[in-house]
Symmetry: C2
């Protein structure tokens, strides 16, 4: 029976949700989870309430808890909101930068780069999530943090495919994103809010384009003899 602490279990569930190991919309069954992690229902239920409060899940009274879903309407709101929040947070992070937190950022960025170099998609996604969470923490604005949190949850879930890059071109994009992280941390450290905002928006644009490309891929060729490029130009 694997003994596990409450905060560890909370973290484990958060990660499983972020990695799509537990699918959006699926039900978090109390009995199953208790069995799996060897805790009783009382603490588990408190964890579920907490997950709900953080936006990872949703509680319907007398009908259980389910992982937050990601429908088309949600996506629309995501694209509408992300740049504003990310830019604001970057600005505040630059204004409120302190050496201690900068060092912590660099440490996480180091593990992100390591994950990139060893091509471990899951580690990339989690490190990236953590990095951006820490930027939010450095921004230190309790009114923006909850929005940032919710954006990051869905952003990380959507990016799962991103990090499992197949082509050389996709790997190059990941490298660019990785370099952008370093530039952003430099901007925070130098306390350059405008520069931080600019970099944050570039970083967002890269991610956005990649997600859009996944959601709306190049159509299959109508005529099997056409190349993908010809089809794309025609559309």
């Amino acid at each position: 029976m694997p003994k596990i602490t409450k905060s560890d279990l909370l973290d484990t569930l958060r990660q499983r949700i972020l990695q799509l190991d537990i699918a959006p919309g699926s039900v978090l069954d109390e009995a199953t989870l208790c069995e799996a992690y060897g805790v009783s229902r009382t603490p588990l239920r408190e964890i579920l309430h907490r997950l709900a409060g953080e936006g990872y899940a949703r509680i319907q009274p007398n009908r259980g808890v389910s992982v937050s879903s990601m429908d088309i309407e949600t996506m629309r709101n995501f694209f509408q909101t992300a740049p504003m929040i990310y830019a604001s947070v970057a600005r505040l992070a630059a204004e409120n930068a302190v050496p201690e937190k900068i060092a912590a950022l660099r440490a996480v960025q180091k593990s992100f780069r390591a994950a990139v170099e060893t091509a471990k998609p899951r580690d990339m996604a989690i490190s990236n999530h953590k990095l951006h969470e820490m930027i939010g923490s450095m921004a230190g604005n309790p009114y923006l943090s909850p929005s940032l949190q919710r954006l990051l949850i869905d952003h990380t879930r959507m990016s799962q495919t991103f990090y499992a890059a197949r082509s050389k071109a996709e790997q190059a994009l990941i490298q660019t994103a990785c370099d952008q992280h370093d530039d952003m941390i430099d901007a925070f450290e130098a306390r350059l809010p405008s520069r931080a905002v600019e970099l944050a928006l570039d970083h967002w644009a890269l991610s956005r384009d990649r997600i859009e490309r996944y959601v709306r891929p190049d159509p299959l060729p109508v005529n099997p003899h056409d190349t993908a490029e010809e089809v794309r130009d025609a559309v």
Copy 2:
């Protein structure tokens, strides 16, 4: 023994916190609350976790739950963030207006106006809070809502003094705020995002000035013979 449902108790505690009936920073004692409302600790603890998730309270493991505090740093972040979020929410509310929700807004605004006319500060604060929550709901953006929620919690708590208006001038300000509500709802209904943003910022400016005036009141006259106006001009 007053029998109370879980969601009612959740709502009651939210209102008590908003009305400063439970002071910022004070601990929410499990035993006391169980005694007071006749529920056992298990459901109460789940309510407390929920309140923490929503930003009304803060959990420190093994050290209990306390009502969110409002220190000087928090205030700074509040003033920095509020206009952006309020404006964004107003824009989205105008874009996503539906007759059903407009009707609901008008109903709450009616009860707000009634509270103003009967000079009931607590009802004003709660109606105002509810109205702005509903605007957020109509905006329908799950990424902005949590930030709006947190802003409203502290905004309502800070406004407690505002609604207990003493002078004629202060009552006139409340009237203005009330009229702004109607204008905003009209703008939502007519689907005029720019107009809605403009009105939201006016509404914010009014509230902000009032709060600032409370935090930094006119200084007492140095020389007892001076009038308040002379002192203000001299500062």
